[in-house]
C-alpha cells in the first residue's frame, strides 16, 4: 500500500513539474494514461492530493485524479461537497489541457450531473455545465456529449432562457448520434416551454429525419410531439416524409403514433366537436405520454385558426356570429378569444363593445416584419450573403467527400447498366474489391 502511495506522490510531483509548456503537457498526458490502474487502485485516498494541485495550471493532472476519486460510489453527505469542488474545477480549469482528455472530462461532468440530480437541485448544475460545454467545444458548431445533459438540467430547473442561448448555435460536428437525438429532443421541449414553436418544429424535424439504422425511443416520442407542434404552429400536418428521412423511420414511425395521427386527421376536418371527441377517446394515451398540455393547446389553436379564417371572409362580424361559426358557447367566450388574439398579435381587429361588433383590420406592418433587405440595413444583407457563402462552401466540401466514399462508389457502380459501350472504364462494381 505504501509503495503505491509513494508512486502516486511521485506522480503528483511530476504533475507539478510537467505542467509548463505544450510538449511537457503531452508527456504528462502519456504518463497519466499509463498510470490509470494506479489511480484506480488508490481511488479512495486520492482526495487530499487535490488540495496540492492548482486546477488552472495543472488541469490535466487534476482531472485524472478527480476522475479516479469520484469513480467510487458517493454517499449523500459527500455529494454536496463534491458538487462544489467539481463546479470549482470546471470554472477554473484550462480549456486546452482538458481537451487532451475529453472523455475523462465528460465522465466527470456526467457524475457531476448525477450528483446534482441526486441532491434534487438542478439549478446548481446549470451554470457550471454551461462553462464546461464552452470549454470542451472545439468550435461553436461542435456538439459534445454534455449538451443534452445541460439541456436536461435546464428543463428540470426550469431556467429555459439559458437553454435557449445554447440552442442558437448551428450544429455541424456531432460526437455521438445519441447526443444529437437527445439534444434536439430536449431542445424542442425547451422551445415549446418558451412558446417558440417554429424552432421547436425545426428541432423535432431534425430528430425525425436524422439518419438511423434502427428505430429508437427518442425518435418515437419526438414524432408524437412533432405532429402536435406542427398542428399548433402550421395548422396542418402532412404524413409524407421528406426524401432525406431514413427508410427505417418512414416505415415504422406511423405504427407507434396512431392516436396522434387520428388527432391530426380530425383537426384537418375542421370541426371542433370531432376534435374534442378524438381527444376524449385517447385521453389516457396522451396523459401517459405526458402530452396532454400540448393536446389542449392544439384544441385552442383550432379556435384561433377558425377565427383567423373569418378575417379573410368578413370585414365586420358580430360577436355572436363568431361564437356560432366557431362553435363557442357564448359571445362572451368569443370576446375573450378575440381579445387574447389581438393581444398576442395574431389578429388585427377592434371590438366595439356597444353593439358587440368586431371589425377586422389590415396588418399595418405586414411586410415590415419580413424585411431583411431594406434601405438602411445593407450590413445585415451582406452578413446574410457571407453566411450563405460559408454554407455553400461547406456543402460542396461534404458533397465531394461523399462522392469519394467507397461505400457510395460501390453502390453507385452497381446500378450502372452492365454493358455500356460508351465507357468500359473504371466503374467499380461489386465483383471487384477495391
Amino acid at each position: 500500500m505504501n509503495l503505491n502511495m509513494n508512486s502516486v506522490e511521485t506522480l503528483v510531483a511530476q504533475i507539478h513539474g510537467l505542467s509548463g509548456s505544450i510538449s511537457d503537457i503531452n508527456q504528462l498526458h502519456s504518463l497519466l494514461k499509463q498510470s490509470e490502474d494506479l489511480f484506480q487502485s488508490e481511488s479512495t485516498r486520492l482526495a487530499p492530493l487535490l488540495t496540492e494541485l492548482d486546477p488552472f495550471m495543472h488541469s490535466l493532472g487534476y482531472l485524472y485524479i478527480l476522475d479516479a476519486s469520484t469513480s467510487a460510489p458517493i454517499s449523500k453527505e459527500q455529494a454536496s461537497e463534491l458538487v462544489l469542488s467539481i463546479a470549482r474545477f470546471i470554472n477554473l480549469c484550462a480549456a486546452e489541457q482538458i481537451r487532451l482528455a475529453p472523455d475523462k472530462f465528460t465522465s466527470v461532468c456526467k457524475r457531476f450531473k448525477d450528483q446534482v440530480m441526486l441532491l434534487e437541485d438542478p439549478m446548481r448544475g446549470v451554470a457550471p455545465m454551461l462553462t464546461a460545454i464552452r470549454k470542451l467545444q472545439l468550435s461553436s458548431e461542435h456538439l459534445t456529449t454534455l449538451h443534452p445533459d445541460f439541456l436536461l438540467l435546464c428543463l428540470l430547473a426550469k431556467c429555459y432562457k439559458t437553454g435557449l442561448s445554447i440552442l442558437e448555435d448551428d450544429i455541424f460536428d456531432v460526437d455521438q448520434p445519441r447526443d444529437f437525438f437527445l439534444y434536439c429532443y430536449y431542445g424542442a421541449m425547451i422551445c415549446i416551454g418558451q412558446k417558440k414553436f417554429s424552432k421547436a418544429l425545426e428541432l423535432l424535424h431534425n430528430v425525425v429525419t436524422a439518419p438511423m439504422s434502427i428505430l429508437n425511443a427518442i425518435v418515437v416520442e419526438a414524432y408524437k410531439k412533432y405532429i402536435l407542434v406542427s398542428l399548433i404552429h402550421v395548422g396542418q400536418f402532412s404524413i409524407s416524409f421528406p426524401k432525406y428521412t431514413s427508410s427505417v423511420a418512414q416505415r415504422n414511425l406511423k405504427n407507434f403514433s396512431q392516436p396522434y395521427l387520428e388527432l391530426a386527421n380530425s383537426y384537418g376536418a375542421g370541426k371542433i366537436s370531432e376534435l374534442e371527441l378524438c381527444v376524449q377517446a385517447h385521453n389516457e394515451k396522451f396523459e401517459f405520454d405526458r402530452n396532454l398540455g400540448l393536446v389542449k393547446q392544439v384544441v385552442l389553436c383550432m379556435y384561433k385558426r377558425n377565427i383567423q379564417r373569418l378575417t379573410q371572409t368578413y370585414l365586420t362580424l358580430s360577436l355572436q356570429d363568431i361564437a356560432n361559426t366557431v362553435q363557442l358557447n357564448s359571445a362572451k367566450e368569443a370576446e375573450m378569444h378575440v381579445l387574447q388574439m389581438i393581444q398576442d398579435g395574431e389578429i388585427y381587429a377592434t371590438i366595439n363593445q356597444k353593439d358587440g361588433m368586431v371589425r377586422f383590420l389590415e396588418d399595418p406592418e405586414q411586410y415590415w416584419e419580413k424585411r431583411i433587405f431594406c434601405v438602411d440595413s445593407t450590413d445585415v444583407a451582406l452578413e446574410f450573403c457571407f453566411r450563405i457563402m460559408m454554407l455553400s462552401r461547406k456543402l460542396t466540401d461534404m458533397d465531394e467527400q461523399l462522392s469519394c466514399d467507397p461505400l457510395y462508389l460501390a453502390k453507385a457502380g452497381k446500378e450502372r447498366q452492365r454493358f455500356d459501350f460508351d465507357d468500359f472504364d473504371s466503374v467499380p462494381s461489386s465483383k471487384f474489391t477495391i
Partner: protein, 321 residues
C-alpha cells in the same frame, strides 16, 4: 533614325486617330488575304507562278493623312483619313489628297494637314520620299507609325510619332526621322464613343451568360487597376508623411483636387436609389447562392441515400445517376 526630337514641340494624339489607323489596316489586311493555296513542291519551271503568288506573310502597309491643329508649340492631332499609295511612283495620290482636304476644310475649318501615317515596325528610307512630298503642304509634317504586330508583353501603345530634322551626317545635311514623345488627349464625347466601338462583341458572342461574364470581367479589371493606382498613391503619401520622401506641394495639390472629385453627387434621392439598387443586387446574389446550396444539398442527400440507406434501392434499376 532614332534619337529624340529637339524641336520642342508637344504632340497630343486623339484616340480616334489610333482607332482609324487600326481599322484601316485591319480592313486592308482582311481584304487582301489570299485564298488558301495547297502547298506543292516548288519547281524550277514555275517562275511565273512564283511571281504571281504574293507572299501572304508580309503585312500590307496602309497610308493616310493626319489632320489637326497647331497652336504655338502644341500640335494636336484630331483626325485622319485614308490615302491610296501608288507603289510605282512611291508617292501618295495627290489629287485625291487635295480633294479630301477641301472637303474636310468645309466641315472643320480649323484643321490643317499636319502629316501622314502608316503602319509597320519602324520608319524606313522610302518613307522619307513621302515625307518630302508632303513638305510643300506643311513645312514640318509629322509621321505617325502604328505597329500592327501584337506584343502581349508591351505595355505602351504601339504608336510612334516621328519628326524630320536636318542633321549633318558625313558632311551632307540630311533629313532624318527623329522620334518624339506624345500624350493622349481626349474629350468626353470622344472617349465614350471610342470605348463603345472598341468593345463591340461579335454578334454570336455566346449566350447572355458569357456576355455578362465578359462585361463583369472588364469592370473587375478596371476596378483592380483603380485600386492599385490608389494604393500606390496612398503609399506615396504615407512615405511623405513619415518624411522618407521630400514634400512636394504641387503633387499634393493634384492629389487633393483628385480626391475632391468624388463623391460626384450627394443628395438624399441619390442615396435612396443607390442603396435600393445595391440591395437588389445583393438580393439577387443571395437568391442565386440559395439555389446553388439547395441543389448541392439535394445531390448530397441522394448520394447519402444511395450509400447508407439499406433496402432503399433493392431490386429495380433506378434512373441513371
Amino acid at each position: 533614325m532614332a534619337s529624340s526630337s529637339s524641336s520642342g514641340l508637344t504632340f497630343k494624339l486623339h484616340p480616334l486617330v489610333i482607332v482609324n489607323i487600326s481599322d484601316h489596316y485591319t480592313r486592308i489586311k482582311s481584304q487582301s488575304l489570299p485564298p488558301s493555296t495547297t502547298p506543292h513542291a516548288p519547281s524550277a519551271s514555275n517562275v511565273a507562278d512564283a511571281e504571281s503568288s504574293s507572299p501572304p506573310q508580309q503585312s500590307p502597309r496602309v497610308f493616310g493623312c493626319v489632320i489637326g491643329v497647331q497652336r504655338g508649340r502644341t500640335v494636336e492631332i484630331f483626325n485622319s483619313f485614308e490615302l491610296l499609295f501608288d507603289p510605282l511612283t512611291h508617292s501618295l495620290d495627290r489629287a485625291f489628297l487635295e480633294k479630301k482636304q477641301e472637303l474636310y476644310k468645309k466641315v472643320f475649318p480649323n484643321f490643317y494637314i499636319l502629316g501622314w501615317y502608316s503602319t509597320g515596325s519602324d520608319a524606313q528610307e522610302s518613307d522619307m520620299l513621302i515625307h518630302r512630298a508632303l513638305m510643300d503642304i506643311n513645312e514640318s509634317p509629322v509621321f505617325v507609325l502604328l505597329n500592327p504586330s501584337i506584343n502581349p508583353a508591351q505595355k505602351d501603345l504601339p504608336v510612334t510619332i516621328f519628326e524630320s530634322e536636318l542633321h549633318v551626317i558625313d558632311g551632307i545635311p540630311q533629313l532624318i526621322f527623329v522620334r518624339s514623345g506624345y500624350t493622349i488627349e481626349t474629350v468626353e464625347a470622344e472617349r465614350i464613343s471610342i470605348d463603345h466601338v472598341a468593345h463591340l462583341k461579335p454578334s454570336d458572342g455566346g449566350s447572355a451568360a458569357t456576355q455578362l461574364a465578359a462585361h463583369l470581367t472588364g469592370i473587375h479589371s478596371a476596378i483592380k487597376m483603380l485600386n492599385s493606382r490608389i494604393r500606390g498613391l496612398n503609399h506615396y503619401l504615407l512615405a511623405m508623411q513619415k518624411g522618407d520622401v521630400p514634400v512636394e506641394n504641387s503633387l499634393l495639390r493634384q492629389v487633393s483636387s483628385l480626391l475632391r472629385r468624388l463623391p460626384a453627387i450627394e443628395s438624399e434621392k441619390f442615396q435612396d436609389d443607390f442603396l435600393m439598387e445595391y440591395n437588389d443586387t445583393l438580393l439577387i446574389s443571395y437568391l442565386a447562392m440559395f439555389t446553388n446550396c439547395s441543389s448541392t444539398m439535394n445531390e448530397l442527400v441522394d448520394k447519402f441515400n444511395t450509400a447508407y440507406d439499406r433496402q432503399s434501392r433493392r431490386g429495380g434499376r433506378s434512373a441513371f445517376i
